[in-house]
């Protein structure tokens, strides 16, 4: 059974077709990347898998659960980090983690979240006083503290400086070692190359290529995935 199984997925917003018959799957325990420029349809696909948007055509299954029928069950297995996510500003970092942990089973979730966020004493300050990097680390911690079966991360390092971005990538890799499957989207090709076991390249709502980063580089005789993407789009 795949962690995620997407078949002939179509999503239309009125007359605009954002996703045009996409098919791919994510295996358990891997980091899978959706790669493409802004407006390619990555976020729409991710939002559908996260149960936020309804599908127009096709099917999506998460650990065997149908997205149309079993959305509530799927929500128990996933953890979603939106690209522009925020946190409740009037809560402290710890209170926010405690609030999120109340939706999941398991012991010591908050302690684990505090450890992942690594904010020191600032964890007990109000979130409104946090920098962008601190907030993002808190949100990544929130997404991974309960060891979800599937973590869906939309541009996980968006807007972060190099140090914070590296820290977030380290946290993601660490989580996978602990059994979390990761589906992430990014337009940062170098990040994807570093993180992902397999990727799909998306352009204008269609998958234009897929495979392991190393094999794709060989196939297109490219130095990095960025070059692969340019060659594929041609």
């Amino acid at each position: 059974m795949h962690a995620v199984d997407v078949k002939n997925l179509v999503k239309r917003y009125g007359k605009i077709e954002a996703v045009k018959g996409v098919t791919f799957h994510v295996d358990e325990g891997e980091i899978f990347g959706l790669i493409g420029p802004n407006g390619a349809g990555k976020t729409t696909i991710i939002r559908i898998i996260s149960t936020l948007l309804k599908i127009t055509e096709g099917s999506v299954n998460v650990f065997g659960y149908d997205i149309n029928r079993d959305a509530n069950e799927i929500r128990k297995l996933i953890s979603y980090l939106p690209e522009e996510a925020g946190a409740y500003k009037n809560l402290t970092g710890r209170e926010y983690l405690r609030f999120i942990s109340s939706f999941f089973d398991g012991n010591d979730l908050v302690e684990r979240g505090v450890e992942i966020a690594n904010l020191g004493k600032r964890i007990d300050d109000k979130i409104e006083t946090y920098s962008k990097g601190m907030t993002r680390r808190l949100l990544v911690a929130r997404a991974l503290m309960n060891k979800p079966k599937l973590a869906i991360l939309d541009e996980p390092t968006a807007g972060l400086d190099v140090i914070n971005a590296q820290e977030v990538r380290r946290i993601i890799k660490e989580s996978v070692r602990e059994g979390v499957t990761v589906l992430l989207s990014s337009h940062n090709m170098l990040e994807v190359e570093f993180l992902c076991d397999r990727i799909v390249l998306i352009d204008s709502g269609r998958i234009v290529e897929e495979g392991e980063p190393l094999k794709l580089k060989e196939k297109y005789d490219a130095r990095n995935i960025e070059e692969v993407f340019v060659k594929v789009i041609g």
Binding site: T51, K54, S79, P82, A85, Y88, F103
Partner: protein
């Protein structure tokens, strides 16, 4: 557990300095205004400090002085007109006026001429609170006139009461088949002031405060980009809707209660202390009646909040959420004004229909209906508002299950 966390989070997010501070300022203003008006009323009722110069030795000035003593504390008493300037200088900060009775006071009355009492007012300012004290003398003057008239009439061997009060008024107000003896419609209206004005205003405040909270909460979720995360958590959409409604209702009710205390203080400053007991006229509410009123208030609040969740879907941020409270405010204001000025039964059919359709009207009208044992209207109202609330809650849950919250358009 997760539901209560959601409610707790809502309360924490909504109770911020920016929401608490305006509330405290408003309550403070109400209390300050109430105090100011209360002081004015007390000042009119309390015995005033005055100066008295009585140059007359006749029986009628004695009557006048006896009456003045009943209404005022005489801080200076003199018998010479020349003392007026001295009193004005020495007592100007201690008294509010000098009453001067001229030496020909009794003589003029005896010779069937109009006698005169002079009053020198010592005005300290032109503010509302500064000039009210003059009202006190109107009562004194009327009583003195009355006593002197009685004295003159009795002197001629006639019963003064028959001359001064030849007629007695016996009022019976018939209202909705109830005969209320000894009370005029005006008095009744004053006694039912709370039903006519206070309850509609309080209901309006509760609805607008709580409703505004729900819409703001939705706006804040979008502005702070927390909604997407919330919608992917393992909690039913219906629980999110109910959680938002509960949290906002708690904060809204808390704020409304504080407002009501301030507003009640303000209103009470106008109220006369001696009120006729409505129960003596069969116009009272039983425990069961209060239960029905509480149910009506609860359901109206639920309907308002469910409606606000639907409205809140259209809020893009906290600012736009404030604009979205306008339709709700209108729906709360319309019944408030209608009920303040007209009774449901005396309204034209169209207004009756409008009033019935607006769910917030029902708790505003409930106490008045119950006072006259019109249980049908109260129970029909409760049933209607319950159905209204359920429909709007279902609509809210339905919308939460669509793309609308994320994309701004509703698609199945």
């Amino acid at each position: 557990m997760s539901f209560f966390s959601l409610v707790k989070k809502e309360i924490k997010e909504l109770l911020t300095p920016s929401t608490i501070l305006p509330m405290i300022i408003t309550v403070f203003l109400f209390v300050a205004l109430g105090n100011a008006f209360g002081n004015i009323a007390e000042e009119v009722e309390k015995k005033q400090d005055i100066g008295l110069i009585n140059c007359d030795n006749g029986i009628f000035s004695d009557i006048a002085v006896q009456e003045i003593e009943k209404f005022a504390n005489i801080k200076y008493e003199g018998k010479d007109e020349g003392e007026i300037d001295k009193v004005l200088n020495e007592f100007k900060d201690k008294i509010i006026c000098i009453i001067f009775i001229p030496s020909n006071f009794s003589e003029n009355i005896d010779s069937s001429k109009q006698a005169e009492i002079k009053i020198y007012w010592l005005v300290k300012g032109l503010g509302l609170g500064d000039i009210v004290s003059s009202a006190f003398f109107d009562n004194v003057f009327a009583t003195i006139s009355n006593k002197i008239s009685s004295e003159i009439i009795e002197k001629n061997g006639i019963n003064s009461t028959n001359v001064l009060l030849p007629l007695a008024k016996r009022e019976i107000t018939i209202l909705k088949n109830n005969e209320i003896e000894g009370i005029s419609p005006q008095m009744l209206s004053n006694f039912l002031y709370s039903q006519s004005v206070t309850i509609p205003i309080v209901m309006m405040i509760i609805i607008m405060m709580s409703g505004g909270m729900v819409i703001s909460s939705m706006g804040m979720e979008k502005e702070n980009k927390t909604l997407e995360t919330l919608l992917t958590l393992p909690i039913r959409r219906s629980e999110i809707v109910v959680g938002k409604i509960t949290g906002s209702a708690v904060v809204g009710l808390m704020m409304a209660t504080i407002y009501m205390i301030g507003f009640g203080y303000y209103i009470n400053s106008f109220q006369a202390s001696s009120q006729i007991k409505l129960a003596d006229y069969g116009l009272n509410l039983s425990g069961y009646d209060y239960l029905l009123i509480a149910l009506s208030v609860f359901l109206a609040l639920t309907s308002a909040l469910a409606m606000c969740v639907v409205l809140g879907v259209f809020a893009k941020n906290y600012k736009s959420a404030q604009t979205l409270t306008l339709p709700l405010s209108m729906l709360a204001l319309i019944p408030m004004f209608l009920i303040m000025f007209k009774d449901f039964e005396t309204m034209p059919a169209l207004l009756k229909i409008i009033l019935f359709i607006i769910p917030f009207s029902h708790p505003m009208m409930a106490s008045r209906f119950l006072l006259f044992n019109n249980y049908f209207m109260v129970i029909a109202g409760i049933a209607y508002v319950a159905i209204f609330s359920i429909i709007f809650m279902l609509i809210a849950v339905k919308i939460f299950n669509t793309d609308k919250l994320i994309t701004g358009t509703i698609r199945k």
